[in-house]
Amino acid sequence: MPELDRVIHEPARLRILMVLSGVDEADFNFLLSTLGLSRGNLSAHMDKLEQAGYVAIEKGFNGKIPHTVYRCTMAGREALAEYWRQLDAIRGLSAQP
């Protein structure tokens, strides 16, 4: 039985990575409004994804307002593709008679 990546397997983190894999970059507000998570929750998930090397964070300012932009790294994209391969393999096993 293939082992699923625990960092990605958490539903909120999977969705965050899926959103970021569709574009080059997105900011905190976009992820917040799209995923419907609380600020603290999203922030904690982003920290875990950054620690795993799946997300790169760029902190800056938009005028005088702090602005944080996230990008999915190459390692994040590869891990995501591998996660779906493993999930499909598990689903295939469970579908066997």
Binding site: R15, M18, G22, V23, E25, A26, F28, F30, S33, N62
Partner: protein, 243 residues
């Protein structure tokens, strides 16, 4: 109960697709730009039209004031257009301000702008487009192109330019923007075919404004409606219980 049930499609797998489509179809800045263009064009047209009326009726002072107003507005348009077409001089600022005003509540999502050779190709296309435009205007003023055929002649370079821009920016913009050159080309074909779609001589300038900015506005509004749909689908997928 059947053991081998057909697997349902996973909405979570569609998240990148809807995120991309949403980001590609954020067309409101373009819509406001088109509205601004139409308002400026109509103001310029009205000023020069009424200046002409004043001169023809012998009221030279008011005619001169209106003509001067039209000239100042035209100069401001040229200076503004040049400034806003260069990112460093104001284009980047305007883009940021418009996006913040129009999409601030939804947050920032973007693709990297084209760089290197693609940037140069875009610049070269813009220069060729500008040159073609200048030649068409000069030929039109010299009487080599009849007024009724100005739009069909312009379609010969406007349509390829817009299609080329789309292929240059296809990662950043949604294919719906191709509606603009499509409608512009169809409009030209209808004129050549003799369809009664031209406005009378007194409203001649609008024969170019409607296909240029009007169809751009239509394409922008269609893209905006699609953008709302994409956002709804994205939120549904991102908040679903699957996977």
């Amino acid at each position: 109960m059947q053991r081998h049930e057909k697997r349902q499609p996973d909405p979570v797998a569609d998240i990148p697709k809807w995120t991309r489509r949403y980001a590609q179809s954020r067309a409101l800045p373009a819509v406001w730009f088109m509205i601004g263009f139409i308002v400026i064009f109509i103001s310029l047209y009205a000023l020069s039209h009424f200046a002409g009326v004043q001169f023809r009726t012998g009221r030279y002072l008011s005619g001169t004031i209106l003509a001067a107003g039209a000239a100042i507005l035209a100069l401001a348009i040229v200076i503004g257009a040049v400034a806003l077409s260069v990112p460093r001089w104001g284009g980047r600022w305007l883009d940021r301000v418009l996006r913040e005003k129009l999409y601030g509540a939804e947050g920032h999502v973007a693709f990297a702008p084209p760089a290197g050779s693609r940037k140069l190709l875009g610049l070269a296309a813009a220069v060729i487009f500008g040159f073609c435009n200048l030649v068409a205007v000069v030929l039109g003023i010299a009487g080599h192109i009849p007024n009724d055929y100005m739009q069909p002649v312009s379609a010969l370079y406007v349509v390829p330019f817009l299609v080329f821009l789309y292929f240059l920016l296809h990662a950043q913009v949604h294919p719906l923007v191709l509606l603009w050159p499509l409608l512009y080309g169809l409009h030209a074909l209808l004129i050549v075919a003799g369809a009664p779609i031209l406005l009378p001589d007194s409203l001649d300038e609008l024969n170019l404004l409607i296909p240029t900015a009007g169809y751009g506005l239509v394409a922008g509004l269609v893209a905006h409606l699609y953008n709302r749909h994409a956002l709804r689908r994205l939120k549904e997928a991102a908040r679903s219980d699957h996977a």
